[in-house]
């Protein structure tokens, strides 16, 4: 009796502690949104309609952000297009075709996931950009930024895919073997479609991470405010813009940077909801 009652006490203590930390997380997020909104409100009233133009010349009170929103989205989309299929194929290959090396490779990938993003940026700046520069100057470009981001999100995308495949019921595999399906056919028709929603929702989260990455992109993207006409054109993302100009911005310019933060938050929220929806559908199917 004594043990149960003391356990109950510990449980209720833990539950209150969890509620407190949960509330703190919500409050902090709410605080960030509130500060961004309050800081941005007067600016949005005055310049809100001009935000959708392309010319960003804060010195002349022109705050068009369309080209930078496009820059953020384009860089992240290309990174996902490169890293996504690679992660899925690699994870499937490791799990079903090369189970012997799966553990060591995954350990290596986990290590890769822990490398700070600035290190990827430095590598991009000193190796990748000069290399691209040799055949398509100036080198710092949409492509360079997407390649660096792809390398950054690949490890976690791979781990998420591996987990999603691992959570599939073993009977799928057994049933497939009993029907003497080929491994490729089983993967294509049964396993990948079943794990699909979980994989896609993991990739959407990685997309959000790519969208928020700042320093690595800043170092390799060239940061020219424009719509790129080719993969080799420089682009500027919203995050790079904040990092480049925040320290020296005053007045409306500073507020404009807060607004770009708000825009990023909005895009990330939409992505998160998309990811929830995908996961929800999977639960209904299971």
């Amino acid at each position: 009796m004594i043990t149960t009652s003391s356990r109950f006490h510990a449980d209720s203590l833990l539950s209150w502690l969890l509620r407190l930390t949960g509330a703190a997380a919500v409050l902090v997020l709410g605080g960030i949104v509130a500060v961004l909104l309050i800081q941005s409100a007067p600016f949005l009233v005055e310049h809100g309609s001009a935000l959708w133009r392309n010319d960003w010349q804060p010195g002349q009170a022109r705050y068009g952000m369309a080209a930078m929103i496009a820059g953020s989205v384009l860089v992240s989309v290309l990174a996902l297009v490169i890293a996504g299929p690679l992660a899925v194929l690699l994870a499937a290959w490791l799990r079903y075709f090369a189970p012997l090396i799966r553990r060591p490779v995954l350990a290596l990938v986990e290590l890769m996931a822990g490398i700070p993003s600035v290190v990827y940026g430095l590598w991009g700046m000193l190796v990748l950009v000069p290399w691209i520069n040799q055949w398509a100057p100036p080198g710092a470009s949409w492509l360079a930024a997407s390649l660096v981001l792809a390398l950054m999100i690949l490890p976690l995308a791979l781990l998420v895919t591996d987990t999603a495949l691992g959570q599939l019921p073993a009977r799928y595999l057994q049933a497939g073997q009993a029907l003497s399906l080929s491994r490729v056919g089983m993967l294509r028709r049964v396993l990948l479609p079943q794990a699909g929603p979980a994989i896609v929702s993991g990739l959407v989260l990685q997309f959000g991470r790519a969208l928020g990455e700042t320093m690595a992109v800043l170092m390799v993207a060239g940061n020219v405010v424009q719509w790129p006409t080719s993969l080799f054109d420089p682009v500027r993302t919203l995050t790079a813009n904040i990092a480049l100009e925040m320290a020296y911005a005053t007045g409306d310019h500073r507020v404009a940077l807060f607004v770009s933060g708000l825009l990023l938050l909005l895009v990330t929220a939409v992505l998160l909801m998309l990811s929830w929806r995908l996961r929800g559908e999977r639960h209904e199917m299971a």
Binding site: P58, M125, L126, V129, P137, G139, N223, P234, L244, Y248
Partner: protein, 267 residues
């Protein structure tokens, strides 16, 4: 534990409030100088115990605060104009910009008109400037940086006329961009450029209007793309104020100036 810390804070707060007024200096003005000033003020406080309050707000504020006696010194990142001669300027250092190209680029000099043509996109190939037949990579600085403002003002450009291929933030990023690209041209703080070139980075500093980009020419005031960093004051300096001035122009402070890419005045 918590009570003790609180009491400690309270004591410090009370003591700092009790300091006599003449043991505190107020310095306001240029946002270019204020990071350096804040760092030097901290060192000065640690050494002398005299409290220094540094606030940025632009050279204009430095002038008006010094005039109205709101500040002991105003920070002004240019020479005094003719209608500001009622104030005394104390030169504490200089800030300059060097045009840099890769050391493998055969071009050794560019005229001002050529630099303007390159930055506005009229001139996109090195060949007609005496260089290789290759596209020019134009490296420009982000908005709000004082280096960018000085550069634009010197060449009479508006920022929207500039057609960059790469926009950078820190001086170091500009150095890397030009060192890694044979066909790049950029501009960075002259202190950084000289330091990096001496340390072996493959850079060439271009002379401007025939004046070589060296510390000597900046020091002599001959180098065109440079400006004075001044502390301005009105009337007689108080004893603590001249103490701070001596501290700032001491050759031992050179390393701190270098950290902020400024050149100390030579004495």
């Amino acid at each position: 534990m918590l009570g003790k810390t609180l009491k400690g804070f309270l004591l410090v707060w009370l003591l700092s409030g009790c300091q006599p007024a003449e043991d505190k200096l107020v310095i306001t003005g240029s946002s270019t100088i204020s990071p350096l000033m804040a760092e030097l003020a901290e060192q000065f406080e640690a050494q002398s115990g005299i409290q220094v309050d540094v606030q940025s707000g632009g050279s204009g504020r430095g002038i008006s605060d010094a005039r109205q006696g709101l500040a002991d010194f105003g920070m002004v990142s240019r020479a005094l104009k003719t209608d500001e001669q009622d104030l005394t300027a104390h030169l504490i250092g200089r800030d300059g910009i060097a045009m840099i190209v890769n050391a493998a680029n055969p071009v050794t000099a560019l005229s001002n008109a050529e630099i303007v043509a390159i930055y506005t996109g009229e001139q996109q190939n090195w060949s007609s400037l005496g260089g290789n037949d290759a596209a020019i990579t134009v490296v420009h600085k982000a908005d709000g940086r004082s280096t960018q403002e000085l550069f634009l003002a010197h060449f009479g450009l508006n920022n929207d006329q500039v057609q960059p291929d790469m926009v950078i933030g820190e001086n170091q990023q500009g150095i890397k961009a030009v060192a890694n690209d044979v066909n790049a041209i950029g501009y960075v703080s002259i202190g950084t450029a000289i330091y990096e070139a001496d340390a072996g980075a493959p850079l060439r500093l271009l002379p401007l209007s025939g004046v070589p980009a060296t510390l000597e020419s900046v020091d002599q005031g001959r180098y065109p793309l440079s400006r004075e960093l001044n502390l301005v004051s009105q009337g007689e300096l108080s004893e603590t104020a001249s103490q701070l001035l001596d501290f700032m122009t001491d050759p031992d402070r050179a390393a701190t100036y270098h950290d902020y890419y400024f050149l100390p005045v030579s004495r």
